[in-house]
Symmetry: C2
Subunit: 304 residues, 2 copies
């Protein structure tokens, strides 16, 4: 009963005879173990992390639940291979808008091989990682029942400038996102999705606090997965905006040192999102009034 997930925006993807993750109907996400050390390293991380009593529950909720490993028929027809069994993050989501953001200006662990370091360093320098402290690695924005989703491939978003990243983040929380990125996104969902006590900014700040303190793990090439449903927000229902960390094939022991590389990157992302919220707050009479009207409008008429 395994099938190809609908809402995967980055990483290897199954389909057309390729090897990639699968999902079932009960909420499990099956990720094939990568042949080199990466697969077993990710299993090691999840095993260590899931048993670690020093991880607070407030932080654990930012990680997918780990159910173990299982031999499963591979999506490329190559037979039974070992898969990580994780929580399916998009279970129950109808039309989620998603952004995956790889955190850190450096994506390679110090102990990596020279070849791997060279490859990663080149990618970090060519992409926005070095300058911004993070890079976009995939996204899908829901527009409407008619237009469906806007998906953007990894390569076209990973080298954006600061201004372009800000524009993408604004589009993520705007109603006027159609097939092209809108140069004047309305940001009507910013205050509920990014802002508020349970919004994405607040969740990122909790993560940040933990990273200022935890010296157990160093996360290289790990992504923040941000997700919410426009339709629910526009209907005035709980936005259920949430972030998760994903992809743990390159986690090192912290050995008494904080993960300054990840922390710096997450602080940079926080600054971008804070600035978007500040811009909105700056013009309460115009923007907020407009926002409220729009949300009411959507609420009455659906997303059409």
């Amino acid at each position: 009963m395994l099938k190809i997930p609908h809402n995967q925006v980055a990483g290897h993807q199954a389909g057309n005879g390729k090897l990639g993750p699968l999902v079932d109907d009960s909420g499990c996400f099956y990720k094939p173990l990568q042949g080199d050390d990466r697969g077993s390293d990710e299993v090691s991380f999840y095993t260590s992390f899931s048993l670690n009593p020093r991880v607070p529950d407030l932080i654990r909720r930012f990680f997918p639940i780990f159910y173990g490993t299982q031999l499963v028929e591979a999506s490329d027809g190559s037979g039974l291979i070992a898969h990580l069994v994780l929580e399916d993050l998009t279970l129950g989501r109808v039309n989620p808008s998603i952004m995956d953001i790889k955190i850190g200006s450096r994506t390679w662990p110090p102990k990596a091989s020279e070849d791997y370091i060279k490859k990663c360093l080149n990618k970090d320098r060519e992409s926005s990682s070095l300058l911004l402290g993070f890079r976009l690695s995939g996204l899908q924005f829901y527009s409407s029942k008619e237009s469906g989703f806007r998906k953007v491939a990894r390569k076209s978003v990973r080298s954006l400038s600061a201004e372009e990243v800000k524009l993408v983040l604004k589009n993520f929380v705007s109603s006027n996102t159609y097939t092209e990125l809108e140069p004047k996104p309305d940001c009507v969902f910013a205050s509920v999705v990014f802002g508020g006590p349970t919004g994405i900014l607040s969740q990122l700040l909790e993560l940040k606090s933990w990273f200022e303190d935890q010296t157990m793990y160093h996360f290289y090439s790990v992504s923040v997965h941000m997700m919410y449903e426009k339709q629910l927000v526009s209907e005035g229902k709980s936005p259920r905006a949430e972030i998760k960390l994903i992809d743990f094939a390159h986690v090192d022991e912290g050995k008494g040192v904080i993960d300054h590389n990840f922390l710096g990157g997450i602080c940079s992302l926080i600054k971008f999102i804070s600035e978007i919220l500040t811009t909105i707050d700056d013009c309460p009479t115009e923007a907020c009034l407009k926002d409220t009207q729009k949300i009411q409008h959507f609420s009455e008429n659906g997303m059409n």
Copy 2:
């Protein structure tokens, strides 16, 4: 009336016919402009920074005052050359204990030449920069009138492990620092030098707040210069512990992005210092009592 400074712990040093910084009696520090772009880049930074109205006064005090440039007889006898004229940070200090710490896991700006990047990257990987997010670049610890100073050369401290760095930081604030680094430093000065509302931790936290927000400058290869006088502390006088940022030959424009590299490094240093303070707080009956007795003892008997 220019002379060789007594209290310089890192960087090029004058003396024995070599080119290095000089000081005068009026509180000025003369730093010869380095021949390549570094000299003029540092002048550019100081000029821009000193005129920048967006730098809060609370932050400006962490930077040496800039008095301009001046042609001065070089310390190597090569004639008149241009010098940066800066505040002499050790003016009026009798026996300062000093640590210079180069902040950031990456010391090279993205726009640097391939050769320079390669050189810096190697140094970052060989030293503690990559793992800790900073490296020690020089130190002098005052012991007593008899033993004088313990100075440690740059090369021997820049590759320390996390445990070794913690030991050096503890020695910095201990009374029992003699010619060798004491493996059981008493940390009697930790609570006044690192802790308290005006201590070094509090100053680092102010810097951190600014770095979470400022997007004007990216500081590569900049050091935190920490300084206090044991004698004053032991006499119960104001510790006057202070930090300054120094060495601005590799500052880039921030272009709307925070300096995530510097921020990560300063957060890592903050964690080390916080842990030392926590360890002391953990055993108030023993350690603090002992501290108080020792400080009283010093206070009555001087440093001998």
